[in-house]
Amino acid sequence: MAADHLVIAGKEFQSRLIIGTGKYPSNAVMAKAHEASGADMVTVAVRRVNLSDRTKESLLDYIDTSKMFLLPNTAGCYSTDEAVRTAQLGREAGLSNWVKLEVIGDEKTLFPDNEQLVEATRILVRDGFVVLPYTTDDPIVCRKLEDAGAAAVMPLGAPIGSGLGIQNPNNIRIIREFSRVPVIVDAGVGTASDAAFAMELGADAVLMNTAIAGAQDPVAMAEAMKHAVRAGRLAYKAGRIPRKMYATASSPVEGLVGR
């Protein structure tokens, strides 16, 4: 099969699986999971340096940034201003002008505040950022984000960390149909079949953290996700058969013995 790489804002990625760096049992396990996943882009959060304990090892000691593209997020930001400020700090701390933009609207669901998200996207695009906004699975909001200059749209499959799987597959399909930029299903994946399903719906990539980091064996789950994303992508490209109510025999109906 010809190369089928993920391309965002002109940058090519080998893998269609993007993974997080949070909540692993240890940094060593994280590094092994990253390796097993085949991913070449990972998300990171921007936080105050821990000044009370300088002996604490740095996350970046466990990420080979020559192979792995760092995507800083604005997780935990509840306003446009906070998100823009965090994105700008992430740009200075990091190696690129890319940001996974989150503007959260509610603590319990961690659902995005789409109004502020669109505004923040507009501001950051104007400031030269490649913006990948985390959004609800709403095709109209995704269209607005794209119009605001987003380099991809990242609709949720289900609430962050919920592991519920893709709650509104039809919306993901519609978003894929509407979008001219890559669609990355971000959040909600619980297990490999969820990731495959997202890809079968036409998603260009899947982003996950908890599904791998929170698994009993994160390294094995990372490998499972690698295969699931590939399988789902292949199935999407292959074109599935239509659904039918009744059976259609796979074996010839003529030439049966004794008839």
Binding site: T21, G22, R47, A75, A187
Partner: protein
Amino acid sequence: MFNKSVNITLNGDPLDVPGPVSVTALLESLAIDVRRVAVEHNLVILKRATFDQTLVREGDTLEIVNFVGGG
């Protein structure tokens, strides 16, 4: 050498440091790797190239951030 001390707010907490001091020297004294952080000085995000010239003075507010695990 007589070195005065300045009171600053660093990551939300008050802190006395010898100063005025450059951002580079402040990071060094805190054992922070310059290449892995971003610094906001009185609400202005600094380019790394300006760490040497930027002086931290009495009453200044600084935020020093780095990357941590996240999704």
